[in-house]
């Protein structure tokens, strides 16, 4: 360590170096995971439709397909349409992409394995992940294309609507733990006291289902993918994007899928809690299980209609989450 961090260096410089190292590690891990998820999605969708999916690139079951895709997107021509607002168009993918990565900071990948032990953990994740909708709105407006614009509008309406039940569904967990710290939430669930079924299975299952449904909607995935519904509005907000800028939107979507699955595992499935294996293995196992459910849902259900989508959030999920909070409070009252 003496070579990497000479003692004569000011502490600030050392701290900045450590932070940079942490950021680089998170970025590398997430990018690799996302590339794996894209390959997995192709395989899962293919097998659900009685196809084989990618089989050629790299040899064994097309494992190098995502790498080949990444290189293709990197070398593609970068186009800014004539009618676009150039800076809004260029900034949009970055603004959609950065929050996805910033959200991983407080996520505990196992016992004592969070990059930052943040007291406002959940609130931080919800606040930062809400920023990526700005990127989608800017993409929709800045492209100078009416289909993009419609996609952006739909995204805004959908994400604002589903943010409400998503935040409310987590409130029972907060009531039981008494803290928003994600590491503390995992610690409270040790020895199989998972919130999915521990103090009250009814409340736990309802909260988990609402959280999962709202998360699918927040990730813009089928059956809630109306912002990019190709049968109606070409490709929605990313119609005019090509090459690396399109890749940014794609990366952001899969980073959010993994984040939502990880949050689900941390909040309701005990995070890294399990027997025999190390905690990070359990965390990854539960997270990938939830990711698989995300893909399963995507390739099973047809797309919602816009008005039904919004009504479902406001007239069903939101009241259910409120009732669930009351139930959670009553459970807490009876227990004490």
């Amino acid at each position: 360590m003496g070579i990497i961090f000479p003692a004569a260096w000011p502490p600030l410089a050392r701290q900045l170096l450590v932070m940079l190292g942490q950021c680089a590690a998170i970025l590398a891990v997430i990018n690799l995971t996302v590339m794996f998820l894209i390959w997995l999605e192709r395989k899962v969708s293919a097998h659900m439709q009685s196809r084989l999916g990618p089989m050629y690139a790299g040899g064994w079951h097309g494992w190098a397909k995502s790498i080949a895709d990444g290189i293709k997107l990197l070398v593609k021509q970068d186009i800014v349409p004539t009618g676009a607002d150039p800076w809004v168009h260029r900034l949009a993918p970055v603004i959609a992409f950065v929050p996805a990565f910033a959200c991983y900071a407080p996520l505990p990948f196992g016992r004592q394995l969070a990059a930052v032990n943040l007291d406002i953990g959940i609130l931080y994740v919800f606040a930062i992940s809400g920023l990526s909708v700005l990127g989608i709105l800017m993409a929709g407006w800045g492209s100078g294309n009416k289909y993009s614009m419609l996609g952006g509008l739909r995204a805004a309406a959908q994400l604002v609507s589903y943010e409400v039940p998503r935040v409310l569904s987590v409130v029972p967990v907060l009531l039981w733990v008494g803290s928003q710290n994600l590491s503390l939430i995992v610690d409270t669930q040790r020895h199989f006291k998972w919130f999915l079924f521990y103090p009250n299975p009814l409340v736990g299952v309802i909260a988990f289902l609402v959280f999962f449904t709202a998360s699918v909607a927040e990730c813009n995935r089928t059956p809630f993918d109306i912002p990019e519904a190709e049968s109606e509005i070409v490709a929605g907000f990313h119609t005019e994007y090509s090459g690396i800028k399109f890749a940014f939107f794609f990366l952001a979507e899969y980073a959010f899928v993994f984040l939502s699955a990880g949050l689900g595992a941390v909040l309701f499935l005990g995070g890294g809690d399990g027997v025999l294996l190390p905690s990070w293995v359990w965390f990854l196992f539960k997270t990938f299980l939830l990711v698989f459910v995300f893909m399963w849902v995507r390739w099973t259900f047809p797309r919602f209609r816009v008005d039904r989508l919004l009504a479902f959030s406001w007239k069903f999920l939101t009241p259910v989450s409120f009732a669930n909070i009351v139930l959670a409070g009553l459970t807490l009252h009876w227990l004490s």
Partner: protein, 172 residues
């Protein structure tokens, strides 16, 4: 100059610069985007002051909620991509007077309090992290400040009912 002072100055320049751009840009969507930068920089000040909950709430509600709705409304109202007419209009003199009076009023109030010599509670270089504020905020809101808290929710309910009333379709 300490690091803290440097970060504060950075946020101050960002806040004032983007606020200036909000009122001088001619494309209304650009104004809204700069307003997002202003609100984000203000969240930065909250972090610097050790108010972690407030900073996250600022980002969640103002940027993730209010500004998204604002962009949504701008996109719904046919705004062409090319810049609009001048930002000045016939009422610039009364507006300038009103703003000037507000600035003087705020300046006078702020000037009456002694702000200097008080260290901000942020960590500088070692592991000393500021005290989390969520728990104490919750305690205050449900005990000492319960009445104002409930009054604010009453105002919000009134606003919601009003919005529903105005958008209601006449029954045929």
């Amino acid at each position: 100059m300490t690091l803290q002072q440097g970060v504060f100055d950075g946020f101050a320049v960002l806040t004032l610069g983007s606020a200036l751009l909000v009122v001088t840009q001619r494309q209304i969507l650009h104004c809204a985007l700069w307003l997002i930068a202003t609100l984000g920089a203000i969240a930065g000040f909250y972090v610097l002051l050790g108010a972690d909950f407030l900073a996250a709430a600022q980002v969640l509600l103002y940027i993730g909620g209010v500004m998204v709705i604002m962009l949504f409304v701008i996109m719904l109202s046919h705004v062409p991509l090319v810049p609009q007419e001048s930002v000045k209009n016939a009422q610039w003199l009364p507006a300038l007077l009103a703003c000037g009076l507000t600035v003087i009023g705020f300046g006078w109030t702020i000037g009456r309090v002694s702000w200097y010599g008080q260290e901000l509670p942020i960590a500088t270089n070692r592991g000393e992290i500021f005290e989390p504020t969520t728990a104490s905020l919750g305690q205050l809101l449900l005990t000492e400040l319960a009445l104002p808290f409930e009054l604010v929710s009453l105002v919000l309910v009134a606003a919601l009912v009003g919005a529903v009333f105005f958008t209601r379709r006449p029954e045929s």
